[in-house]
């Protein structure tokens, strides 16, 4: 009997809480009907925390547009959700941070509302590869964040910094490398093509891709760890257990600043630059606000702020920014980057994945 009584109370509590919750959910939307607002999807975790703390409040102050940030998963899950929601006329977020591959896949179903370049003040100063375009030239997305994967070494084991990706192939480095385990996040085919085959254009044909696979297979004896989990490699790099490999430039810089014997080098062939775009779901009616947001985010001051606070590489040309040399070097480099062949990961993803797995497992 006593238990029944308890259940009754908790049920009433739940109902009350539910009603209060529904009220809270409903009220801001009434308020926001007068105010302007924007739902922005950002990668959950570090990015969302940094944006919530450093970027969004400043934007609201400057524009009067309230930002509701939505944590989105990396990978393709968010694309699938946006796609299905858009079919039902819903937008879980108006603007989203979207990986390059997912941007391309969304383009195939016209998921992104084309953006108007004339409403983005610094459009002409954006680096060319930070503008994602539909095949007919309409703008599908504008660079949001970018980061580098570079050649990293343990300074105790390698007193001299290597200067080329070719050291990965050096027989002297047998069993010393840590590389990313997937074709679609290590971008080692592009590295191979840029280092040995004259550029990533060599991957246009299947022969070229097979040739890159063949060359890349020569690296295998040098690889100690193919990692999926970043912590796994970072730890081994710091201790010198695995003294060389590919890793994120910004995180390696932070570790070096903390006194660990590690360094990140931009090889002469360039670091691998991966990035995400701002894209606007076709189900969103916040077209105006979205342009204000992208315009704001593409300003030199904000790009500099993001480099300092979030650690991302700027999407604008270097000379437009007020970053010091040191600040710039912490997030980027003047060396021409290796831009991944995102198109391949939409058109041939299964084939590349199969070849890759057979190469490293076999």
């Amino acid at each position: 009997m006593k238990e029944l009584h308890k259940t009754a109370i908790s049920r009433r509590k739940i109902l009350a809480a539910g009603a209060a919750g529904a009220g809270m959910l409903a009220m801001p939307s009434i308020l926001r009907a007068q105010d302007r607002s924007l739902k922005v999807g950002v990668y959950g975790g570090y990015f969302k925390d940094s944006f919530d703390e450093n970027i969004f409040p400043e934007f609201t102050k400057a524009s009067g547009i309230e930002v509701e940030s939505v944590a989105e998963p990396t990978g393709e899950a968010w694309l699938v959700q946006l796609e299905q929601a858009a079919r039902a006329g819903q937008a879980p977020a108006d603007l989203s941070m979207m990986s390059q591959t997912s941007t391309l896949k969304g383009q195939e179903t016209e998921l992104w509302t084309p953006l108007d370049p004339t409403k983005i003040g610094n459009y002409d100063d954006l680096l060319e590869h930070f503008i994602a375009k539909y095949p007919d030239g309409r703008v599908a997305g504008i660079g949001a964040v970018a980061w580098y994967i570079t050649l990293v070494t343990n300074t105790d084991v390698y007193p001299e910094a290597p200067d080329s990706w070719a050291v990965l192939w050096d027989p002297a480095n047998e069993d010393k490398l840590g590389l990313l385990a997937l074709v679609s996040n290590s971008f080692l085919l592009e590295v191979t093509a840029k280092t040995f085959m004259g550029g990533t254009d060599a991957l246009d044909t299947e022969e070229g891709q097979l040739e890159a696979f063949e060359k890349l297979a020569e690296v295998k004896p040098n690889v100690r760890l193919w990692y999926r989990d970043e912590a796994q490699f970072e730890q081994a790099l710091k201790s010198g257990e695995i003294p060389m490999g590919q890793y994120y430039h910004d995180v390696t810089g932070l570790a070096a600043a903390d006194g660990f014997p590690v360094r990140s080098t931009f090889p002469k062939e360039g670091g691998i630059q991966d990035s995400g775009n701002w894209v606007l779901s076709r189900a969103s009616d916040k077209v105006e606000e979205a342009h204000v947001f992208i315009d704001y985010m593409s300003q030199p001051e904000i790009q500099s702020l993001m480099s300092r606070k979030v650690g991302t590489a700027p999407t604008l040309e270097r000379d437009k920014l007020d970053l010091t040399d040191e600040e710039f070097a912490a997030v980027s480099s003047d060396i021409d980057p290796i831009i991944p062949r995102y198109d391949l990961y939409t058109s041939k993803s299964d084939w590349l994945n199969q070849k890759w797995t057979e190469m490293i497992v076999g």
Partner: protein, 285 residues
């Protein structure tokens, strides 16, 4: 207490709860997985309901056959080693005082509270060159310089045996504790040495328990996907690792589902064969 056969529907009521649990947590998810394994993959993370067998076709290759063979062999080795260590250990444990037994069992249970991630990283440190156990051997003068014991097959096997051993012991413990000691006493009276008594009397008496434990550890080890990644090289990756890759990183649910269905079917077949072989021997004995 006398058992009566159930007569009314109400008598069957106690079955309802396990039946619902089984349906909700096994039948429904597994059926969904089977259904998805026949869906059509669209490159780009989507799939459409359909009935195609391409996903199974892709799996039937020498490459995946090799990975499947390795996964099964690894799981069998883990099961055999675990039972090989745990059976004598648990037997000796049951001979000790109750106090000692409780301390051991609490320690073993506390090992179960460690997640696979912690076990993996702990072993990767223990087996490393810079901080691992070989440094102790060097300090003791047994080795000239520290060595890395990973990545490699030995490291994977060690980690997986470590993870499965507590389960094995806890599975064997109840049966060994309840073992009729008079059997062994009779053997000793008739002149058998303790070792001979253990091998000729205790092991055969508990054959069913041993087989059940082997199967449980085998199935447990078959699902391992983190330890092979942390402690092994790519050639030591199990099929579960590749399933994870397809499901999470390639968004290829149909193919991942097809591989998982295949793995379940193969392991069910192996378990069935083991039981069949055990049953036949019992019949002829």
């Amino acid at each position: 207490m006398r058992r009566e056969p159930p007569r009314t529907i109400a008598d069957y009521a106690p079955l309802a709860f396990p039946a619902i649990m089984l349906i909700v947590f096994f039948v429904v998810p597994f059926s969904t997985m089977i259904a998805v394994s026949f869906f059509r993959r669209q490159q780009g993370g989507f799939y459409t309901p359909d009935f195609v067998i391409d996903n199974y076709g892709r799996f039937l290759s020498a490459f995946f056959g090799g990975v499947l063979g390795f996964s099964l062999a690894l799981a069998i080795m883990v099961a055999v080693i675990c039972v090989g260590i745990a059976f004598p250990f648990t037997y000796l444990l049951t001979k000790t005082s109750r106090r000692v037994q409780i301390v051991w069992l609490v320690c073993l249970l506390s090992v179960l509270s460690l997640s696979e991630v912690i076990i993996g990283f702990a072993w990767s440190t223990l087996l490393s060159r810079t901080a691992g156990i070989t440094n102790l051997l060097v300090a003791a003068g047994l080795m000239s310089e520290p060595q890395a014991l990973l990545p490699g097959f030995g490291a994977v096997l060690t980690g997986m045996v470590y993870q499965a051993l507590p389960y094995t012991i806890l599975m064997l413990y109840p049966a060994l504790v309840r073992l009729d000691t008079t059997l062994l006493e009779a053997a000793r009276t008739l002149g058998a040495s303790p070792l001979r008594g253990f091998i000729n009397i205790i092991v055969p008496t508990l054959r069913n328990t041993i087989i059940a434990t082997l199967i449980m550890v085998f199935v447990f080890a078959l699902g391992s996907y983190l330890l092979p990644q942390i402690l092994g090289r790519p050639q030591h990756w199990t099929l579960s690792v590749l399933i994870t890759d397809q499901a999470i990183y390639q968004s290829n649910m149909p193919f991942a589902a097809a591989m998982a269905v295949f793995l379940v079917l193969i392991s069910l077949a192996l378990v069935g064969l083991t039981l069949l072989a055990g049953g036949r021997r019992e019949a002829t004995a």
